[in-house]
């Protein structure tokens, strides 16, 4: 009896402390997640844009990946977020590419619909940015376009390995976790990507 009575007192003492602690830990987690997303969003967008060659689609898949991570995996340790996020992103990119193929097949039977789907460029997107545009910038832009085109011609897994390692700066182990494959496969994909890019771009580096 006495033990049971004490149990009630102990529980009431513990509940508020646990509640506060949990609330604080959840708020810390939200801040950490926001920092993480802010850090990866632009790189993720560029990876999606290079793979999909479409800005709106790239934005959509990045947003989807962010939402998926926030909704389902926010409670996981922060060290796991990066590989999880890029794995989700790559899955979304593949889903989008599949949807496009299906849409193209359907649209090929409805040629009159193709004109309706064509949208003019967004005037806001076309507005000049406030960045500097010296000759060096133009040259850099041209090199970027060449690299982007060469990357788009690579097999998906090679492109994925190259971009994760070079944009995101992941090591082989992290890239393997994000691509859900062995480290040996990452090395192979990366080596082949590098060889193919060098073969296409020649003395790009000099």
């Amino acid at each position: 009896m006495l033990a049971f009575a004490n149990l009630g007192t102990q529980t009431s003492d513990l509940l508020p402390a646990g509640k506060t602690q949990l609330r604080e830990s959840v708020q810390d987690g939200a801040r950490a997640l926001e920092t993480f997303l802010a850090e990866v969003e632009r790189k993720a967008f560029r990876i999606a844009q290079i793979a999909l060659r479409h800005e709106s689609d790239a934005l959509d898949v990045v947003q989807d990946a962010m939402m998926q991570l926030a909704h389902r995996y926010a409670s996981r340790p922060a060290e796991e977020w990066r590989p999880l996020f890029y794995r989700i992103l790559e899955n979304r990119i593949r889903d989008m590419q599949r949807r496009r193929i299906v849409r193209q097949r359907v649209m090929s039977f409805m040629p009159w619909r193709a004109d309706e789907e064509e949208e003019g460029p967004d005037p806001i997107d076309q507005a000049a940015d406030s960045g500097p545009t010296p000759a060096a910038q133009i040259e850099s832009d041209q090199m970027m376009r060449s690299l982007e085109q060469a990357l788009q011609q690579l097999p998906a897994r090679q492109r994925e390995a190259f971009l994760l390692r070079n944009i995101e700066g992941m090591d082989v182990a992290e890239t393997a976790a994000a691509m859900k494959c062995s480290q040996g496969s990452v090395k192979t994909h990366y080596f082949r990507a590098l060889q193919a890019l060098r073969a296409k771009l020649g003395d790009f580096a000099t």
Partner: protein
């Protein structure tokens, strides 16, 4: 076979270009990404929902323990309505219940009080005054 030094230079250049392009995104795209981030963060389960999910099993467990304790510790066995009254009954008790000539324990209007008065007087040897005498 490419020269490893050339490979490293190529990687450095490619990395720099890719990072520059990510940093130099148009303002509109950056704004959309920021909105996407906030939308993602708002879709995150709130702390109160997570709190309730966290404490719900503990609360249910505590409630169950309290109910069990009340049933088996606080309430005396004699007051427990779930106790079977026939447990511990002797064979004589069953005989008395089954005897059709046993004392009737019915409502008051069915009890023959004159009989009990006469029986009591017979047992003490004193003759009861007859009614009307």
């Amino acid at each position: 076979m490419n020269n490893p030094t050339d490979d490293q230079a190529f990687e450095r250049r490619a990395r720099q270009l890719l990072l520059d392009s990510a940093e130099a995104l148009p303002a509109v795209t950056r704004s959309r990404l920021t909105r996407a981030r906030y939308a993602a963060l708002s879709s995150r389960p709130s702390w109160s929902r997570r709190l309730s999910r966290h404490w719900m099993p503990a609360g249910a467990g505590a409630l169950a323990a309290a109910v069990v304790a009340v049933m088996f510790v606080v309430m005396p066995h004699g007051e427990n309505p779930a106790v079977n009254p026939l447990v511990g009954a002797t064979p004589e008790d069953f005989e008395m219940l089954a005897d059709s000539e046993a004392v009737q324990l019915g409502p008051d209007d069915e009890v023959d009080y004159d009989f009990y008065e006469w029986a009591a007087s017979e047992a003490t040897g004193a003759s009861a005054p007859s009614i009307g005498s």
